[in-house]
Symmetry: none
Subunit: 409 residues, 2 copies
């Protein structure tokens, strides 16, 4: 299941052909027992069906059979990177997603504002999901008063509701430490501990514990949120960039921070300012005249509805997404891939291990006739692409776009 | 085609859901030229067909395309271990299968009683397949007289007919030596030779040759069997156990020694006392109330009939096995996998490289609708599972049983 980046790097060619990856988060579904049908089988999606009938179709395995991918591994696989080899910590994704700059000296993390009682017991891990404005104010207060611990610089940024993220900046920081989130109300927060016995891990532990203590002192009289829980400590991943491996000039169009963060990790130009699917399509149109040759367009809503177990909602969302397919095709991309980063069946109420439908459409040369008439998991399982590892899709798209040279004489 | 044990180990969860692997040895067949049909296509097996229509179906490759697996590699792959990475010598399987204890200091082997003439020529490699009682007596005689060579302890146990197995016990023994079996009557037995130039290999060679010489002296006046041929020298394999990798509590129900031995190597609790298929099913029922969560049930007969080239016999045996499917389903397992360790087509008269049919049935969540109506190789090649490596089946079963956590954020 390994990627073949070292080989690909020697074969990639630069040309002006444009590839679009339309990534419908959590696209794949599973059989709802009462009807025996999946979300894609119930939804009416004539445009996706027509696209499928003209595409190379199959099912893709993001990590391995039986493995349920998080968003990080799912996306790395989409971008052609073996997600077992390359790991990206959650803190890094959050920080990048919020548009913060991240350097090699940074230890990134994500945080929640929480409430703690006078006995030191966490009473609400999310501080009643305080409004974003309150988080903005609290983060500002902390940033103003605690911008440094010893020689370590601290940079914070508010997220949505009770969430924020940040970095500790110092060359000796490492990610080998535990979290302070007890993961259940009614417990005391944990003390951060080193997970390896090194000077750097001890130093990092001391800094982070001091920061948490200072924040607790600073916020102790705040009425709504008087504590912070920090998780997902992670250093910037050292990965080859898409420019370097694929010689692509990639742009990322996404609404949510994490997906922008993921795109930045692999070297994409992140496009900001989209709030809706239509915003994203409009942005794609606008950028299509610019010299990008790879467009990653991420649609989040299907995943959220799957996570909520909302079968009908996911069906409706698929039908809504179906309507943007002609708009995207009207841009005349050279290659259009429609897939997801993983499956999120409503029956699972979460990400799942089910392989993800993939349709790869190419203008010239066209993909082979497929005998696939419907954009469904079932139909795609008999598609000509077969059942493949997700890391193979980007190289295939590159091949159809004439961006891969012959290997060997 | 590699396994992903290191990753899986970090994701496995313990729960009470129960997985059954019904392993029909040599299940897969091949086209009989006069009818154009395989054993599974000729056999009438309504219960397997119904199961297939409700299962995730496909074909599994035990080792690699074109590779015919022995029972060892076939089973390791079934249990999720890459059979190219993990090797188990035949001697180890025999010794474990006979219920002998095996330590890290042991060099295991299997032996045949043979007959040799006064010129030192092997006249019968199996000593006329002497009855088991005779082997019991001869093994007793050797064990009594030759329990030690130099500092090396020797432990023997009789098998069926002319077969026996044993271990040489000493920390310096290695498996890098040749066999003495000339594999054809009319030849002299080979001298054991080291296959590597090490002190340990020379020491091992000397010990084993001395043992064979002493046995020949001891048995020289025996009327039926006066020589031993030793093969399959192997040390105990150092493999991660199923408890450790999968957090499973596995039980193995099998009739034949080798399959019990294989199960023991991967850490299963081996259940003894079964002689027939119905014994095995009864034992499964009995054990189903006990706190096991993985049941390996091995059926040997299909393989033997395939090896004999007995197409009709294998067809009948499949029809017989079909009748136990409702009994097994009545136990209400959470996941039932019906497959084989390899194919043994009657037309091949032996194991073959043909991918093996796999049906994976799950109670909740159910597996996707498959459009597979018949339990045959042909139908399964269009199943939604596709054609996958056999090592992927156990992780998939784990996923359906809720025993695998999400990978990454």
């Amino acid at each position: 299941m390994e990627d073949n980046l070292e080989l690909l790097k020697t074969l990639t060619l630069k040309n002006e052909k444009k590839i679009i990856f339309l990534v419908i988060d959590g696209l794949g579904g599973a059989t709802e027992p009462s009807t025996g049908k999946t979300e894609l089988e119930v939804a009416v999606h004539p445009n996706l069906d027509k696209l499928a009938s003209e595409s190379l179709c199959g099912l893709a395995v993001p990590v391995d059979f039986g493995i349920t991918p998080g968003s990080g591994p799912g996306h790395l696989s989409l971008f052609g990177y073996d997600p077992v080899k390359y790991l990206i910590g959650r803190g890094v994704l959050e920080v990048l997603g919020l548009g913060m700059e991240l350097t090699e000296n940074d230890l990134a993390f994500r945080g929640n504002f929480a409430t703690i009682d006078s006995n030191g017991i966490i009473t609400d891990r999310r501080a009643g999901r305080i409004p974003t404005e309150e988080t903005v104010r609290l983060v500002g207060k902390i940033q103003k008063n605690i911008s440094r611990i010893d020689n370590v610089e601290i940079l914070l940024k508010p997220g949505k509701e009770h969430r924020f993220a940040g970095v500790f900046r110092h060359p000796d920081l490492v990610e080998n430490i535990t979290e302070n989130d007890p993961h259940k109300e009614g417990n005391k927060p944990h003390k951060i501990q080193p997970t390896v016995d090194t000077v750097q891990a001890k130093f990092t532990t001391e800094v982070v514990n001091k920061f948490i203590e200072e924040v607790a002192r600073l916020l102790k009289d705040e009425p709504k949120a008087n504590y912070v829980l920090l998780r997902g400590f992670a250093k910037f991943p050292n990965m080859p960039k898409m420019q370097e491996v694929y010689k692509l000039t990639p742009a990322a169009i996404a609404v949510y921070p994490m997906y922008k963060g993921l795109a930045q990790v692999v070297g994409m130009q992140v496009i900001h300012g989209c709030e809706t699917i239509q915003d994203e399509v409009n942005k794609l149109k606008e950028l299509f005249t610019q010299p990008y040759d790879f467009y990653y367009l991420h649609i989040k809503d299907t995943d959220k509805l799957g996570e909520d177990g909302n079968f009908d909602g996911k069906v409706k969302k698929i039908e809504e997404i179906d309507k943007i397919i002609p708009e995207i095709l009207s841009l005349q991309p050279d290659v259009l891939v429609v897939t997801g980063d993983h499956s999120t069946p409503a029956v699972n109420k979460g990400h799942s291990w089910h392989p993800v439908p993939v349709a790869l459409w190419s203008k010239n040369p066209p993909t082979p006739r497929n005998n696939v008439k419907m954009f469904t998991e079932q139909e795609f399982s008999r598609g000509m692409l077969g059942i493949v590892h997700m890391t193979k899709i980007l190289p295939l798209a590159m091949a159809y776009a004439g961006k891969l040279d012959k290997y060997g004489a």
